[in-house]
């Protein structure tokens, strides 16, 4: 079994300087945080499940996404796994937004 892409202690690849800049959270990030916590509070998902979903992601995707993007990807994966939502209905809902904004 290769070492998980999340198991980063002492890794060579990530031994560079620490980027100190901090960003103000965007609305969608605050929402991701809140939806994640709320799903936990109502017992729909456990933190351990989301962590596991992030560990199961494609490694390069894991590394390229921002923190809340990873949360959203793993939340979607777990909600679909638990058959609470389907990918199709999420796609459809995104499509509805895009239609509203006049996007192709």
């Amino acid at each position: 079994m290769p070492r998980g892409h999340h198991d980063l202690g002492g890794t060579e690849r990530d031994s560079g300087p620490i980027e100190r800049g901090e960003h103000q959270l965007e609305d969608w990030e605050i929402l991701a945080d809140a939806v994640n916590q709320a799903l936990g509070a109502v017992g729909v998902k456990r933190t351990d499940e989301l962590r596991r979903a992030r560990e199961e992601m494609d490694s390069e995707l894991y590394r390229s996404l921002s923190y809340y993007e990873r949360w959203i990807a793993s939340m979607e994966a777990i909600l679909i796994e638990k058959k609470i939502l389907t990918r199709e209905e999420i796609d459809r809902k995104v499509g509805e937004f895009e239609k509203k904004w006049g996007e192709p």
């Binding site: 620490i18 980027e19 609470i84």
Partner: protein, 211 residues
């Protein structure tokens, strides 16, 4: 600071400049509300909970611990109860441990596997804490990390790294700066930065409270 109340609103629709994942979360939110898996109140509660949490809470705890040895002892023995004394709700933490820095020992906290952090006390972690480089280097190069943050610890000081891999959350109790004996708790709290409670740096010097 933007109005947090709009974010949970079911009628709040995102703008077209949002990226792929941002669109997904708005879609997921709308679907969860439609299916009544969550209510707008469920989401708003979490937004409000998180907004109330910030390093200022931790700074108050540390300032009291510096000022009151009996409180410090209670804090180390039962951190959740000590927080409750100060009106800080740490009950959502499974387990909470306070790591006391001394002249001879400095602690530094990391979560190499994800980004576990004492959110109920300190609020959300900074971006750098969640970064791949911090998660990698805090364990095998803590002194290098501290130097990057401007903190040089001598060879006579022992550095202890805590990798929080389970449900325990760690808060560093920084060393009380010299020359602060006459300061009030409010003044002391000004010296306690978020980064000093993660452990990458010491608290600010006494002069910072007079500034």
């Amino acid at each position: 600071m933007s109005d947090a109340h709009d974010k949970a609103d079911a009628h709040d629709h995102p703008r077209h400049e949002l990226g792929h994942y941002a669109r997904r979360i708005y879609a997921i939110r709308d679907l969860l509300l439609e299916k009544k898996i969550l209510t707008p109140q469920d989401i708003q509660e979490q937004i409000d909970y998180q907004e109330q949490r910030s390093p200022a809470n931790g700074a108050r705890i540390v300032a009291r611990a510096w000022s009151d040895p009996a409180f410090k002892a209670r804090l180390i023995a039962d951190p959740k109860a000590a927080c409750a004394e100060m009106g800080i709700d740490a009950t959502s933490l499974n387990e909470f441990v306070v790591l006391e820095n001394t002249e001879k020992v400095r602690h530094i906290v990391v979560c190499t596997l994800c980004s576990c952090y004492p959110r109920p006390i300190l609020g959300r972690p900074p971006d750098w804490y969640k970064s791949l480089n911090y998660r990698s280097r805090a364990v095998n190069d803590p002194r290098g990390v501290m130097r990057e943050f401007g903190q040089d610890v001598g060879s006579d000081v022992e550095v202890r790294v805590h990798d929080s891999t389970a449900d325990i959350r760690y808060l560093v109790l920084p060393l009380r700066p010299r020359g602060t004996e006459k300061m009030s708790e409010a003044q002391l709290a000004k010296l306690v930065t978020r980064d000093s409670m993660i452990g990458v740096v010491d608290a600010l010097p006494a002069s910072a409270a007079r500034a």
